[in-house]
Amino acid sequence: MRFILVLIPALVLAQIHVPYQRIRDAHKEPGNWLTYSGNYTGQRYSLLDQIHTGNVGRLRVAWVHQADELDAFETSPVVVDGVMFITEPPNLVKALSTRTGRTLWTYRKDIPKDLRLCCGKVNRGVAVLDDAVYYASLDAHLIALDARSGRLRWEVTMADYKTGHSSTGAPLAVKDKIITGMAGGEFGVRGFIDAYDAKTGKQAWRFWTIPAAGEPGNDTWQGNSWKTGSATTWVTGVYDPESNTLYWGTGNPGPDWNGDVRKGDNLYSDTLLALDPDTGQKKWHFQYTPHDEHDWDSTQTPILIDAVLQGQPRKIVALANRNGFYYALDRQTGRFVGGRPYIKQTWSSGLDEAGRPMRLPNTAPSVEGTLVWPSLGGGSNWYSSTYSPQTSLYYVNVKEKAGVYHKGEAEYKAGAFFNGGGQQEYKGEEGYGAVRALEPGSGALRWEHRLHSPSHAGLMSTAGGLVFGSNGSSFFAIDAKDGKPLWDFQAGGGIIANPITYMSEGKQYVVIAGGHALFVFGLD
C-alpha cells in the first residue's frame, strides 16, 4: 500500500510538460490553469461550467493546505495535470497533489536578514514552462526549479536587494523566455522588466521603465530624479500572440508623495507598456497618471478583450486603474478608446480626448494633509479584475474610500525608504466595497454587488455564469448576469489573493488562499 502511495505522485509528476504552445492555447484545456491569469489574455475567465449558478450553493471544502509560516498569503496557483504549484510565505515554492492536497515537494530559499520590503513577505505565484517552474524570489533572484522535484536548475540575481530591490510577482513564460518584473517602488530604485532564456537563465533583454539620460522621455524627469524614480513592475503582465505583444504595467514614481523633486510627467511610471517579447523593444506606451503624487501604481494585470463597440469589432486592452478611472485602449496603437471613473474620485475633472486626466487644483499631498478620493489603496489594486466573454462584462472588486495625503521630506539613501510623505485613514466616512460590472468599451456601470468593506482580493469569472470574489474573510460567488449572491464561505482570515479553478478526475474545483491556508472547493 505504501509503495503505491509513493508511486502515484511520481507518475503524475513525470507527465509535467508544458511547452509554450500549451500556454498559448490554454483555452483548449480549461481543466488546467497553466499561467498566472489562466491564459495570456489576463481575463481570469474559465470555460469550466460544471459548477454553475444552479449548483454553486452546494460548494464545499474538498481539502485545505496550511501555510508553513504566518504572513500574507497571496498566491495564485498554477495547475498542470494533477499538480498544483504555489508560492508561500516566507519564500517557498510547493507542489501539491490536486487529488489529495498533500505536498509533493517544497523548495525553500532563505531570506537575507537585512532584506527590506514595503509590504510583507508576499508572493503571487510561479510560471511553468516545459518541465520547469520559475519563481521570482523576494530578494530579486529569478529561480528555475525542476517541476518533478523542486530541485534548483539555475538562479540569477536580477538586482541587489540591498538597494531596496525585491520581487513579489509571478513570472510570465512567453515562447522560450521567462519574463519578470520587480518591486521596490518605495526605495527609490529604477524599475525594469527582464527576460531570461528559460533553459540557461541567461538574460535576453532588460527594458528600463525610466529612460536614461539622452533617451526619449528622460526629459519628463527633473535633473537626476530619474535615477531614483521607481516605476516598478511587480504584477504579472499579459501577452497577445497574434500581434506578438507583451503588455506590462508600471508602478508609482518615487518618491511617492512628494513630486516637487521630480517635476514632469515622469515616464514611464503608472504606464501600460507594449513591448516586443523577443527583443524588449517598446511598441507604444500609455501613461495613466502623469506625475502621480498619490502612489497609484498602474501595475494591475490588464485585460485583452476582443470587444464589439458600436457594432464594430475592436481589440482593446482594458484596466480599472488604481487612480479611479477605467480605461479601454486600442491594443495595437495604445490610443484611448473610452473610459470614466468607476468609483468616487475627487482629484480630476475627467479624462481628455487622449485619455489624460485633467487634474484639479489643491489635490496634491500637503504637509497638513489633503483629503482625496480614492485612498492610497486606490479604486482597485494589484488583485485581478476579470472579463467574461459570456456576458461581455468587465468585473472589478472596488474600494470606495478616501485618504488624507501628507507631503514629507524626500531624502534618498540607498536601501532606505524614499517616500516623501504618507497617507492617513480618513475617519469622516466609512469606506465600503463592491463588485462592479462595467461595459468594456466605456467603463459604464451595468450593476454592482455591494460589499461591507473595501476589498483587497481578486475576481474570477467562469462559463458557469459565475463571478467568484472575496471580501474580508469571506469567499463568495455571485451571478455574472446581475450580481445576485449565490454562495459564500467564511475562511476565518483575511483574503488577499486571486481565485482560480481546475478539473481533477472529472470534477471541477475552485481555489482561494485565505488567511494562512489554501482552500479548495468542490461540489458535495
Binding site: 494589484w382 524626500a410 468593506s453 459564500d488
Partner: protein, 255 residues
C-alpha cells in the same frame, strides 16, 4: 506600491543610530515641523495635544516606553511590536527627530496629581454610579462599555470628566450600537462586535453574544453617534465628579 492592508505591519527597522549620539532638535522651525508631523501621523491615536485615545497619553513627564530620547526615537522609528503602534517607515531620520522633539515637548507639563479622593471615587464608581455594570476594571465588571483598567494611561482627566458628563461627545473607536431584527425571533439591541458582508456579531445589553447571517435578518439599524451610557450631568455633584475622575485617572495598569 501595494501597501494598503499591510502598511502598518511593515515593521521595518531603519539603520539605528548609536543611542548616545541622539540629540533632539531644539530650533523653533524643527519643533513646528515636528508638530505638523505629529498632527499628520500621531494625533489620530494619541490626540492632537498628546492627551491620549486609542494610544496612550504623551502629555506626561514620563513615558514608560521612552525613558530617554534614544528610546523615544527608536519607538517612533520602529513602532512597538505586538501593539498597534506602527514604525514611521514614511519619515526621514530628520523628521523622526523633529516629531520626537515635539513629543518630548508635550511632556513638559507639571507632574501634578489629579485632584480628588480616589477612595471615594472608587465607591462612587461601584455604588452610586453603577459603572461596574457596564465597565470592567482588572477583570471585574460588565462588558458593554470599554475596559477601564488602563483608563488613566490612555485618557486625560479632562477627557474622562467630559466622557462622564457627555458620553456621546466622543465614542470609543469602532464603537457602534445596533438593533438587528431577525425574520424570526425578537429584535436584539446591543454593541456591534464585528461585521462583514454576510454576517454581524452583537453583544446585547445583558452581555449575551449573538452572531447572525444577514440573510436571516429583516433589518439592521445602526445608531451612529449613540451610546447606551447615560449622561451623568445631573447625577453627580461637582465634588463627586472630581473624586470619580481621580479614581479613573488612577487606573494605570498596562493591559
Amino acid at each position: 506600491m501595494r501597501k494598503a492592508a499591510f502598511l502598518l505591519l511593515a515593521g521595518v527597522v531603519f539603520g539605528a543610530d548609536e543611542p548616545a549620539k541622539i540629540k533632539l532638535p531644539t530650533r523653533r522651525d524643527d519643533l513646528a515641523r515636528g508638530e505638523k508631523l505629529f498632527g499628520a501621523y500621531c494625533a489620530l491615536c494619541h490626540g492632537t495635544k498628546g492627551g491620549g485615545g486609542r494610544g496612550p497619553i504623551l502629555a506626561t513627564p514620563k513615558l514608560k516606553r521612552a525613558p530617554d530620547d534614544a528610546a523615544l526615537v527608536k519607538v517612533v522609528e520602529d513602532g512597538i511590536q505586538g501593539t498597534e503602534m506602527p514604525g514611521a517607515w514614511h519619515m526621514t531620520p530628520r523628521e523622526i527627530r523633529q516629531v520626537s522633539a515635539f513629543v518630548r515637548g508635550l511632556g513638559r507639563v507639571p507632574d501634578k496629581p489629579v485632584p480628588g479622593d480616589i477612595a471615594r471615587g472608587s465607591q462612587l464608581y461601584q455604588a452610586k454610579g453603577g459603572c461596574a455594570a457596564c465597565h470592567t476594571v482588572q477583570g471585574k465588571g460588565g462588558l458593554m462599555g470599554p475596559d477601564l483598567t488602563s483608563a488613566g494611561l490612555r485618557r486625560s482627566a479632562a477627557f474622562l470628566r467630559e466622557a462622564i458628563l457627555n458620553p456621546e461627545a466622543e465614542l470609543p473607536d469602532r464603537f457602534l450600537q445596533v438593533r438587528v431584527v431577525p425574520h424570526q425571533g425578537s429584535p436584539i439591541t446591543g454593541i456591534r462586535l464585528g461585521e462583514d458582508s454576510f454576517t454581524i456579531q452583537v453583544r446585547d445589553f445583558s452581555d449575551n453574544l449573538h452572531s447572525f447571517w444577514k440573510r436571516d435578518l429583516k433589518d439592521i439599524h445602526k445608531d451612529h453617534g449613540r451610546s447606551p451610557m447615560p449622561a451623568y450631568k445631573d447625577k453627580f455633584s461637582d465634588a463627586e465628579l472630581t473624586d470619580l475622575v481621580a479614581y479613573l485617572a488612577s487606573l494605570r495598569e498596562e493591559k
